[in-house]
Symmetry: C2
Subunit: 351 residues, 2 copies
């Protein structure tokens, strides 16, 4: 068995509260997944990840990047180490992407054929080939609870014709991904350890900014019957209104950790400030040099409980590594706390 | 009152077990002090520092560098923030050096006069002047439990004449340091908060490799009556036998954290290996790529309990910041555990 998903409550606006039962545990949705690109959420210890946020519950699920782990340290090594869970000592759920997005955004000299993508590593220029089958093989070796079909990521914006053609390729690759997955899903490194649970494979809906293509893509993938469905090519530059039309149960983003490393911190707006939403602080600003307040007085995270803006500014200005760590912990807590609040609001609606 | 020091037990070899009562708490000696150069032990969170090591007791005292904090963020800022304890959120004992060593090793274009040292910042080339009085002023603003007289650090090796002359200057500066300290020690930022406790000032014994000068220096400083005595210009390149003749209650070194950032890890030798002492592992070596053992099977630190050599190697090779953090935690635990064992051994001797 892969996963089960139970919807607990739905709001009139299309939001829903759910519970996703995966091989490594249960994830309450909607959920934010911190990105652990190279089997580490940059600068943050696993112990910390497990207790980040106001409630102390920590991150329930994290994401790792197939492309990066394939190149370094290599999926075969991780397979021999027992999968990425054991490799990085993370016992909660995990998701891997297909590698497609990085192949199309990071790698050099890509050549796409019907069969797959030839590319050169951004690390050393070495030549590699990813096909749907190969992406599945790599992701099975990594052993995340949720894996993704291999898809083509079309440049954005793209014409209807170009988008439609690319979507066709993605659907063909989705079918091949599923076929390979079903034939090999018992080769996961931890098979036999978790009560016969298997990994789950998600399809990826493409179709760019075209509603008709999106609909067609969703229908085609549902026919193929995946464990779940991802929305590909979203939040990559299209108008914000388009992004907002999509309702999702799970989301990931490097923003909280990447922004943290650049000294950008999120906090709740104070009354009368910024329309009551979130405020982005640039911690290097002189105004924080002697500011003895925590980043966010309303935040109960381990950084806001202990450190001042003045200290975080000092760490950033002195290029001290602890600055990136503390900033990352706070920003992740900010994201996780928002999702906890959203789940709380949704729980108020009847099923 | 500054400090009290009680000797609990002494070994025939000159070692002794002691208890050092400081404004921010009691330190059991002999003790290793992790170096927190810029008000942070590089890459390690304060929460972690408080629980590092086998016993979970953490670092009892840390060191901060006067020169670095003077330049950035500035001692006046730290004074306004309530001192370095409050600035970095560290409530246990702390020691600051005089700034002398960095002035003589890091700063540019130094000019020494009887009055003090003119130098240029290694950060931006700006011109500064440190005198004994100014070093005291800076260290009082920082507010560490233990501060150091301002001394001249002579280059090594140096002739008897050069060493003797430099020692004379150091003694004159020690007297001036003490005079300023006694007149201003009630200006510490936290005065009034800790039951009337004050900072303590240590003298620094110089004299290079010359036993007669070392003896003279020790006698002269004891006459001046300091809270404690440091050994200056030790372990800076002289023969190891010379270093080993000195018995100390407190020591600091950047080695565990600096080595960690370069991928060098310390562990106890296994039976038959390296004379039973410590072994230095270079984690980037290929032999660790699939090594599922902890760094040190005999170590109970939070890194050895959770992570494999294979994972630490991966983090280092991928230049992931978490690598430096985990390596630093392990190396600090290794040092702190050794000192705990030494204290245990010494406790076996009668007082």
């Amino acid at each position: 068995m892969g996963l089960t998903f139970e919807v607990g409550a739905s709001s009139p606006g299309g939001g829903r509260r759910g519970s996703l039962d995966l091989a490594h545990g249960v994830v309450e949705t909607p959920v934010f997944m911190p990105v652990g690109t190279a089997a580490t959420v940059k600068t943050v210890q696993q112990d910390t990840l497990e207790q980040i946020g106001r409630s102390g519950a920590g991150a329930e699920i994290i994401l790792a990047n197939t492309y990066h782990l394939y190149l370094r340290p290599g999926h075969e090594l991780i397979r021999r180490m027992g999968g990425v869970h054991r490799f990085m000592s993370w016992s909660r759920p995990m998701l891997t992407d297909s590698g497609g997005f990085q192949v199309f955004s990071l790698a050099k000299l890509r050549k796409v054929t019907g069969d797959g993508v030839e590319f050169r590593s951004h690390l050393d220029g070495s030549k590699h080939f990813f096909s749907p089958e190969h992406s599945m093989e790599v992701q099975i070796a990594l052993g995340a609870d949720i894996m993704m079909v291999f898809d083509e990521c079309v440049e954005t914006p793209a014409s209807w014709e170009r988008t439609s053609q690319s979507m066709g390729l993605t659907h063909a690759w989705a079918a091949r991904s599923k076929q390979y997955f079903e034939a090999h899903k018992n080769e996961t490194p931890w098979m036999g350890e978790l009560d016969g649970r298997t990994q789950s494979l998600f399809g990826i809906v493409q179709g760019g900014m075209y509603a008709d293509l999106r609909r067609e893509s969703a229908e085609r993938l549902v026919e193929m019957d995946f464990g779940g469905y991802a929305i590909g090519g979203l939040a990559v530059g299209e108008p914000r209104e388009v992004t907002r039309e999509m309702g999702v149960d799970m989301m990931d983003c490097v923003l909280p950790t990447r922004a943290a490393r650049h000294g950008l911190l999120f906090r709740a707006a104070e009354p009368g400030e910024a329309d009551g939403g979130a405020v982005r602080m640039n911690i290097k600003r002189l105004e924080y040099a002697e500011d003895q307040r925590p980043v966010d007085a309303a935040c109960g995270c381990m950084v806001c409980r202990r450190y001042t803006r003045a200290y975080l500014r000092h760490l950033f200005m002195a290029r001290e590594p602890l600055g990136a760590t503390l900033n990352s912990i706070h920003n992740l807590a900010f994201y996780l706390d928002i999702m906890e609040r959203v789940r709380g609001e949704l729980a108020g609606f009847r099923c």
